[in-house]
């Protein structure tokens, strides 16, 4: 794993982030703006409603970090010839990929912690009922989104192309999963589509952890899908990694990205056929919002 270079590179990446004003805005301030928009506009300051909406806030935070903080950063460095500088070193792509995930994980632990602290200070919410579950889910969610972001970075050639694909994926993951429009208000058919999206499971699972409505052991298929997605995407992004803007991928190579969506595709089929997750999510919504 090349631990020392990975840790040192993670440390450097955190320092670089701290020196970059736009990165600070999008990684720290922007998610907090979301928190206050959700808290004041959607929950109207009600502590229990804000607590319920912390699930979507956390998911939006880690979703943005995974795609932009990890995936987009790789393309940015590739286009600026930064990756070329690392190429002669005897370490390969692993430290570059892992350090991006690690640095963003450290940052998001801080940001999500800050979000809960601010929510408690401004909206007087109770602390999460299952903080350890929340920590594990948030971490696995970030790893999965970051790995998906790395696959996107691997198959796109330019920053513009990456922006388009990241935005399309993010919109689907945000708007069809209950992370923005409440799941209970989505049309029936979209709820079934949501079962194919990792963000739906994360929103539900974080809300369930915050309210103590479900234990981790009842979410084994979702956790497995997150772990498998992370591993598959990490291996794919290692295989498809490109150091240089001049190195282009053929369509055949790009087809290697397809396995990235397989775990949640299979989970979606299983959940649509055998799981009661839709009703559980609706029940949790009704128990809090319409109490």
């Amino acid at each position: 794993m090349q631990l020392r270079p990975t840790l040192l590179l993670s440390h450097v990446r955190l320092k670089l982030l701290a020196r970059n004003r736009s990165a600070i805005f999008f990684a720290i301030i922007f998610p907090i703006i979301f928190l206050f928009i959700y808290g004041f506009l959607f929950a109207r300051g009600d502590p229990e409603d804000v607590r319920f909406l912390m699930g979507p806030v956390v998911v939006l935070t880690i979703l943005g970090s995974g795609f932009w903080g990890v995936g987009f950063q790789i393309v940015f460095w590739r286009e600026r010839n930064v990756l070329r500088r690392f190429r002669p070193a005897p370490v390969g792509a692993r430290p570059l990929l892992l350090s991006g995930v690690l640095a963003n994980w450290v940052l998001q632990v801080f940001v999500v912690g800050l979000e809960f602290l601010l929510a408690r200070l401004f909206f007087h919410i109770s602390w999460p009922a299952e903080p350890a579950s929340l920590f594990i889910l948030g971490s696995l969610g970030l790893f999965a989104f970051a790995s998906l972001g790395m696959v996107v970075a691997s198959i796109t050639n330019t920053m513009q192309e990456t922006q388009v694909i990241c935005n399309l994926l993010m919109f689907a993951l945000m708007f069809l999963s209950g992370a923005t429009v409440p799941f209970a208000q989505l049309p029936e058919v979209i709820r079934h589509v949501a079962l194919f999206l990792p963000s739906f499971y994360l929103v539900y699972a974080t809300q369930a952890s915050i309210f103590g409505a479900a234990r981790l052991r009842s979410m084994v298929p979702e956790l497995a899908a997150l772990v498998i997605t992370t591993l598959v995407c990490y291996l794919l992004s290692l295989k498809l990694f490109r150091w240089d803007q001049q190195m282009r991928l053929s369509w055949r190579d790009k087809a290697w990205a397809v396995p990235a969506v397989v775990p949640f595709f299979l989970l979606g089929i299983w959940a649509n056929l055998y799981s009661d997750r839709i009703n559980q999510a609706l029940a949790l919504y009704r128990s809090v919002i319409r109490r």
């Binding site: 270079p5 040192l8 450097v12 320092k15 010839n81 930064v82 070329r84 500088r85 002669p88």
Partner: protein, 317 residues
């Protein structure tokens, strides 16, 4: 062994870098067409040629960054394609067109890259050696072009390598920074490190390299020490001089090896394929006529002339 004019390129079995009949194609384009050469321990070897000649492709194959289509390559005893990792530990590389993150400091960059290697030089040693001490806390985007290049070279030496490969180390730099880089390469030679550099600057090859291979269209068209290449050239030297009393051009035309003579603005000019013999003959003529040489300037043919002679075009065409 493909025919390359001049000095033998393959010298012994103890070479640090051995390249035999190297070939690389990009689709239908033959970028490298059977290049062969050897570089000995402690030698500064230059690949000189115009843009697109195949120099960068060759060094990238040597560095293990690109797969070859034919031929054999050994660097420090390793095949770069198979033993890339072991080779990278012992090789220092400066690639063309690389950058660092804008907000990384010089010191952080050196420490970070040092962490990638088992064997490494101390950051302070590199800061001192490359004159970057004052800039150790400066962000990369605040460095000048020359400072960035010095940092790139320092990063290439961070693992205290046995062999260093510089790909166009002075391209786009101002003359002063270029001279600084020449000084750094000269110091590497003093330390008996093996250096391979690519360049399309004649003066760089002439000043820095013990031996040069001139590359064009993916082939070595001539090789040897810069002096040998120039001496073997059919190009003539230009002798320009001022006399106390002008002499007739017909007298100059009779001098040994004087191929062409002329005069403009009171200055005589002779083109000669053997400048020392022509100068001796000129001195004898002046003594016989009680004349005196006021000023003389001899311009020898350069590697550029050698390249033009062999390829029919200029290096930077």
């Amino acid at each position: 062994m493909p025919a390359a004019r001049g000095f033998p390129l393959v010298m012994s079995n103890a070479a640090v870098i051995q390249v035999t009949d190297l070939r690389k194609n990009y689709g239908s384009l033959e970028a490298v067409r059977g290049i062969s050469f050897e570089i000995q321990q402690g030698e500064v070897f230059g690949l000189l040629g115009p843009n697109g000649a195949g120099k960068t492709t060759t060094v990238e194959i040597l560095e293990g960054l690109r797969a070859r289509d034919g031929g054999t390559v050994r660097v420090c005893g390793f095949d770069p394609e198979v033993e890339s990792r072991q080779l990278k530990e012992r090789l220092g590389m400066q690639l063309q067109e690389t950058a660092l993150p804008e907000k990384i400091t010089v010191e952080e960059a050196l420490e970070l890259f040092a962490s990638f290697y088992g064997r490494r030089l101390k950051t302070q040693v590199l800061l001192d050696r490359f004159g970057l001490e004052e800039k150790r806390r400066s962000h990369y985007d605040m460095l000048s072009g020359g400072q960035r290049q010095r940092l790139a070279l320092a990063l290439a030496l961070v693992n205290d390598p046995e062999v260093v490969i510089f790909d166009e180390p002075t391209a786009g730099l101002d003359p002063q920074t270029r001279r600084e880089i020449y000084g750094l390469v000269a110091r590497l030679r003093e330390q008996r490190r093996t250096v391979l550099l690519t360049t399309h600057y004649i003066e760089e090859a002439e000043q820095l390299c013990d031996r040069v291979a001139i590359v064009d269209h993916g082939k070595v068209i001539a090789a040897g020490t810069p002096r040998q290449l120039v001496q073997r050239s059919q190009q003539s030297s230009r002798i320009e001089f001022v006399l106390r009393a002008p002499v007739e051009l017909s007298r100059l035309r009779e001098l040994e090896f004087a191929d062409e003579v002329g005069m403009a603005d009171g200055r005589h000019m002779i083109r000669s394929r053997h400048a020392p013999r022509t100068l001796m003959a000129l001195m004898r003529l002046l003594l016989a006529e009680d004349n005196e040489l006021v000023e003389v300037h001899v311009e020898r043919p350069s590697l550029e002339d050698v390249f033009i002679e062999l390829s029919g075009r200029r290096l930077r065409d």
